[in-house]
């Protein structure tokens, strides 16, 4: 089977600075792939390479099985949506939508038809004769999506399209984007630094760091089985609790505590003893009555309580390690109190202390 987008051994260097190195990535037909990472990790750079806006140093890019490594952006069958919308300010919405089609010498009645269809899908019909300056942020972003839509492209590229919108609008457009993807069934590649956007939209997430892909997997896999310490720390808010200790004979030892790791799925069936780090998500900690049923029990001292309505975030001390716990919004706990918590080892993650890879 051919992939929708196939990247082979991509290298990109600006002078002596290597931004992307030996990057391989295959994206399936109709897949929604999110490139996620903190700023400077190369995710937008990678997107620009796929779009053809950056000339790559080495490697190959295929779109729909065709080698487009040296093709012009307009010849690649891609449409792109930018963070700043990048609408042409002197043209009307209609002019913006039809600009690409006019460049491609599409006949006039066909342009009309496609603009009308895009306007209907994105509900921007009444705005067609307005200039971008007279539109709200959300409307502008819709027009920007429409500009990609009218060109009937195979692959949509999104470069942090929701980052300039206010919080409420961002959630609305996120839902709309997902609906749009279900409706169009195009391949979409989406760059963001927002992990909620990544988790909610993606079929697969590629977490990037320093120009390399740390993990490429489904949101569920990334959340539950992060491949290394970086991914584990990056995904989840509040982030995972890490405690350094030793893995000895299937037990995790820290200070004078021994945690039997029964039920934990090791990557390799026989894992030798070594210094290791255990990662426990704040939301996987159980409290109250439920503690009785969990294999691992601790008592922690509460330092700080942050009620957030839906949840209560508790900062506590486990021995001498700081430990975050996410409790129910109704939980009534006080600073200075000592409470019992329980942890299920099968939901924890173990990492090699030296290589930081999952054990």
């Amino acid at each position: 089977m051919t992939y929708s987008v196939e990247i082979k051994q991509l290298d990109l260097a600006f002078g002596s600075v290597k931004v992307l190195q030996g990057l391989d990535l295959n994206i399936n037909e109709g897949e929604f792939l999110v490139l996620l990472g903190s700023s400077g990790c190369g995710k937008s750079t990678l997107l620009n390479c796929i779009a053809g806006l950056l000339e790559i140093t080495d490697g190959q890019i295929y779109i729909k099985g065709e080698n487009v490594t040296w093709a012009e952006p307009s010849e690649r069958g891609i449409g792109m949506v930018f963070q700043s919308y990048a609408l042409y300010p002197q043209m009307t919405v209609k002019g913006n939508l039809s600009f690409g089609l006019k460049n491609a010498k599409v006949p006039k009645d066909e342009i009309e038809k496609r603009v009308a269809r895009a306007a209907e899908i994105l509900q921007i019909g009444p705005l067609l004769d307005r200039k971008p300056g007279a539109l709200s942020g959300g409307q502008r972003q819709r027009v920007a999506i429409g500009r990609a839509l009218v060109r009937d492209v195979d692959v949509f590229l999104f470069d942090e399209p929701l980052s300039n919108l206010d919080a409420k609008l961002r959630v609305d457009l996120r839902v709309e984007l997902k609906r749009l993807h279900n409706q169009l069934e195009n391949t979409m590649i989406y760059v963001t630094h927002d992990q909620i956007e990544a988790m909610t939209l993606a079929d697969r997430i590629a977490i990037m760091k320093g120009g390399q892909i740390m993990q490429l997997a489904s949101p569920d896999e990334i959340y539950n089985r992060p491949r290394n310490l970086y991914v584990a720390d990056f995904i989840g808010s509040p982030s995972m609790n890490f405690i350094e200790g030793h893995l000895e004979g299937g037990n995790f030892k820290v200070d004078d505590m021994v945690l039997p790791m029964d039920g934990y799925e090791f990557v390799a069936p026989q894992t030798a003893d070594r210094p290791a780090t255990i990662g426990i998500r704040p939301e996987h900690v159980v409290t109250g009555e439920l503690v009785r049923n969990t294999p691992l029990k601790f008592s922690v001292d509460i330092d700080l309580v942050e009620p957030m309505g839906s949840d209560t975030l508790v900062y506590a001390q486990l021995g001498r390690h700081p430990f975050r716990i996410r409790m129910d919004g109704q939980a009534r706990v006080n600073v200075g109190e000592t409470i019992e918590i329980g942890v299920d080892p099968s939901r924890a993650s173990l990492f090699d202390k030296a290589t930081e890879d999952r054990l």
Partner: protein, 319 residues
């Protein structure tokens, strides 16, 4: 009455507005007034003198308004004043200047805007070096280049003649040195560094994503230039136009060196009228001639003042 009490209770908020005649205002406007006077007085003297007859000028009170207003000096300056053997006034110089100005402004702005656009958006290998060299040109005093340019114009004129004679044995000699087209080339070249800098800075301030979007939409180098960049950059074009119009119109040095008496621009002719040492000094004609020469840049400034400020703010500040 109820309303009145409510108003009295709530009253105006915020600090009390300052009086118009506060001491700060008096100092500021006083200074401005004096400065205005300082700059406008010579202009006033020029206008008044140009409207007087010679007998009245000889009376010597230069600030007095004309007793008898006459436009004869203006007519004389325009069409009768003598420079050397020709007595056509400034009119010929005016048309020479127009023929120099229009192509120089259009060509230099056209080239410089494309230069600036290419340097801002289509970075190529060595584009920074190219830009640095170009800007370096802005800092070399152009007096240094006068003689080399004389040679370049002469030789390239001969080169073109040789080329033309390849096709037509009888082609007349083509001259760049001493012709209007030669001067147009000189003005175009000397406008290049500063105009390119101006346009590059302006186009750099246009969001890069807009340029990327246009590329994804399939627009090429010229497509983006004409359909995206040009419509967005009217202010900077006005700035460039003003710079070039005033610079070229007021130019004296290149005009006197690279042309000959029949093709002297207005400034050179003005000089020749004002500085002629023979006969009576006709102050009224001189003043009228000077005002006539200064009129073109003045009109350009007044016509495009607002756009000029906008363009300067948009293009020139950002490095």
């Amino acid at each position: 009455m109820v309303d009145a009490t409510v108003n009295a209770q709530s009253g105006p908020r915020g600090p009390k507005p300052k009086r118009v005649m506060s001491s700060t205002n008096i100092i500021i406007y006083g200074t401005l007034f004096v400065v205005c006077l300082y700059y406008l007085l010579p202009l006033y003297v020029m206008i008044v003198t140009s409207l007087k007859g010679m007998p009245e000028i000889r009376l010597g009170n230069i600030f007095g308004p004309p007793v008898e207003v006459t436009f004869e000096p203006w007519v004389k300056a325009w069409s009768e004043a003598c420079t050397g053997i020709n007595c056509e006034g400034l009119s010929r110089g005016f048309w020479n200047s127009v023929w120099i100005l229009v192509p120089s402004v259009i060509i230099s702005i056209a080239i410089a805007s494309v230069n600036g656009y290419a340097l801002a958006n289509w970075r190529f290998k060595g584009s920074e070096v190219f830009f640095t060299i170009l800007i370096f040109g802005a800092f070399i005093p152009y007096q240094v280049m006068i003689y080399p340019i004389v040679i370049i114009l002469r030789e390239s004129g001969e080169g073109i003649t040789w080329f033309l004679r390849l096709f037509n044995e009888d082609a007349s000699a083509f001259r760049l040195m001493g012709s209007l087209s030669g001067l147009v080339i000189v003005h175009t070249i000397f406008g290049m560094p500063i105009l390119t800098l101006l346009f590059r800075n302006y186009f750099t301030s246009v969001p890069e994503e807009l340029f990327k979007a246009a590329r994804v939409d399939g627009a090429g180098f010229w497509g983006i230039y004409f359909r995206i960049m040009l419509p967005m950059s009217l202010p900077i074009f006005v700035v460039a136009m003003i710079l070039q119009v005033t610079g070229i119109w007021n130019d004296f040095l290149f005009g006197v060196i690279y042309t000959k008496p029949e093709t002297y621009p207005m400034t050179v002719q003005l000089n020749n009228i004002v500085n002629s040492v023979q006969g009576v000094k006709e102050y009224n004609v001189n003043m009228a001639a000077t005002l006539l020469t200064g009129l073109v840049p003045l009109i350009i400034y007044f016509a495009s003042g607002k756009l000029f400020v906008r363009g300067i703010a948009a293009g020139a500040v950002k490095g």
